[in-house]
């Protein structure tokens, strides 16, 4: 791996009375595609700016490859940034934008040409070298920004919501390209985003942040399947969250008396003794929906309810189910078997919902509401 590892520890930063970061510590490995994910105002961009050297933290240190870089200005750190607004120099051509860092170092002309063309070909923009940034589309500008940030051969590339100004389709394509560029250059990427889909699809690991704290760090799978708190569960994808009291416990399986739903069997890893108040998260795609009862099975939760709203979206239908106790359940049904004569489920139909205890997770409840 060519990249560097980045360690931040105990970083806090306030702007006036606003605490942007409250003692954040993270360790990012060499060559990793690491995402900082959270709602706007959660401190992710501030953290990135601290790593880049644009902001001095009030407390804490930033280490790159074990070396404390806290006091160094941005031009002395081996990180480069791709800005949300692209920040291309409007008075320079695409070529000169990418060449800017080399010109500063007075690299000989021939080498400049070679390196710039190499990096422009990495982002497939060789044909646009002579254009001014104002003549480029949003996606092209973004690519110039990436090529320019990579030309110094940094050890760490910092990306500040680089795709947020692009439309949805282009965003998908750029994401795939970014991933390919990451594989090719092999350096550490730190990627700031508020879009959980982006973070899930490209990251090696994700740190979910909110209100200046890191709530959970883990692989996309860990974050999605085992959210540490109900904030994380709600922020990453759609989820059903219920609160209730543990009424009995048998090994890893606990029975929770959930408000508005009744008794649920859930898997609890260690936490949740009898009598404890817990939050339970169930992903909507893990719940099966059918007109007939699936039949008893140990560790299977079976609930009955009424379809209040079927929302058809092509590849799947989202059902909002009202339970007799007053609870509401969201269920996704994929249409893989649609043509095989699965009976259609309509509005006001009585349905059975079933999910395994293994597919539910006890999460820490916090007062936070995702934006």
């Amino acid at each position: 791996m060519k990249g560097s590892d980045v360690a931040v520890s105990g970083i806090s930063k306030s702007f006036g009375a606003f605490k942007a970061l409250k003692g954040v510590s993270l360790e990012i490995k060499k060559g990793e595609f690491f995402s900082l994910l959270g709602p706007s105002g959660c401190g992710k961009t501030t953290l990135l700016r601290v790593i880049a050297g644009f902001e001095d933290p009030d407390t804490g240190v930033v280490g790159i490859d074990g070396r404390d870089v806290s006091g160094l200005p941005p031009d002395k750190r081996r990180c480069n940034t791709v800005f949300q607004s692209y920040a291309l120099f409007p008075h320079l051509t695409v070529f000169e934008n990418v060449a800017f860092p080399l010109r500063l170092r007075r690299v000989p002309n021939k080498l400049v040409r070679e390196m710039v063309m190499k990096h422009l070909s990495l982002v497939q923009l060789e044909a646009h070298a002579e254009k001014k940034p104002s003549m480029l589309s949003g996606g092209q500008k973004q690519r110039v920004a990436i090529a320019r940030a990579l030309i110094n051969e940094p050890a760490v590339l910092l990306l500040d919501e680089p795709l947020s100004a692009l439309d949805a389709k282009l965003r998908q394509r750029m994401l795939v390209e970014l991933d390919a560029i990451h594989d090719k250059v092999g350096i550490t990427f730190i990627y700031v985003t508020h879009d959980q889909q982006e973070a899930l699809s490209v990251s090696d690991r994700i740190a979910v942040m909110d209100q200046g704290d890191v709530l959970q760090v883990g692989s996309p799978q860990q974050i999605y399947e085992n959210p540490a708190s109900d904030f994380v569960a709600r922020f990453i994808g759609e989820t059903n969250i219920f609160t209730g009291v543990v009424s009995s416990r048998e090994g890893p399986i606990a029975t929770v008396d959930a408000e508005g739903i009744g008794e649920l069997l859930v898997e609890a890893n260690g936490e949740a003794p009898v009598g404890a108040r817990v939050s339970v998260a169930v992903r909507p795609e893990k719940v099966r929906i059918g007109a007939l009862s699936p039949g008893d099975h140990p560790e299977l939760n079976i609930l009955q309810g009424v379809v209040e709203e079927p929302i058809y979206s092509g590849f799947q239908t989202k059902y909002i189910i009202h339970l007799p106790g007053g609870g509401v359940f969201i269920v996704f049904r994929q249409h893989a078997n649609w043509s095989e004569g699965v009976p259609d489920i309509r509005w006001k139909d009585e349905v059975y919902l079933s999910f395994s205890a293994r597919d539910s997770v006890v999460v820490e409840s916090d007062a936070r509401k995702p934006c």
Partner: protein, 299 residues
Amino acid sequence: MKRNYGSLYAAPQSIWLTLFFAAPLLIIIAYSFMKRDIYGGVVPQFSLDAYEAIANPTLLTVAWRTLWVSAIATLLTILIALPCGYSIARSGNQALRLFLIIVPFWTNFLVRIYAWIAILGNEGFINDALRALGLTTQSLRFLYNQGSVILVLVYMYLPYAILPLFSTIDKFDFTLLEAARDLGATRMQALRKVLLPNIKGGLVTAVLFTFIPIFGAYAVPLLVGGKDSYMLGNIIADQVTKTRNWPLASSLSMGVTVMTGIAAILFALRGRRPAQRAPEETGLGPIAAASGMPSGGQA
């Protein structure tokens, strides 16, 4: 029926320009080619006397001095106005700071010059203070030399430079400076290579707004200048009011107009050249040709 009212809408401006710009200019051009009347005024008879009279060593010395003083004063004004405009653009209370820049305009031009005399004069504040502190016994002569003329000119025209610089810097995207720093530029390099080229328009305006009026300055050198700081404006005024040689005053005015015009055009052109030369500098031409790359620059 559809009618074109364009010339009607433009009428106020056209009339204004004709009355107050074109007509006086034409009168001056006409006078400069006439003969001087013995009691002042002009004799309507074609003559090049007034232009021949310019080629007089004293006048040329003054012309050269005017150019030099104007250049120095403009340079100093811009050097002060740049950081001022920058800090106003980046400050939180732009309105208050702009207001403070404009406040001096509420006072009459001449009153402000006299204020400087009150500050710098032999019995002025500075000399009084120096004497009171016992640092000097005699008055120091601050006034009536080129230095005092330049100082007061810079003071007078500073707002004219700050305002256009502020308005362009205000539109500048400061993320670009961060990007430059991020890419390895020092603070000064970022300002020089990214800020300056992007506020060129404001710089050109500021230079023209200060250089042109300073070049024609009359009151400042008259009131705070000495023998060594007589400028073209003073000579022209003398020709009009004292010597009453109107053709010479007119030909000198033409000289000032032509010189500032040439300076303005040269300056505006100079600002544009680097952009046109960029493709050669990158040396991309041959590469582009070799790889069969479509190049917009060659079209």
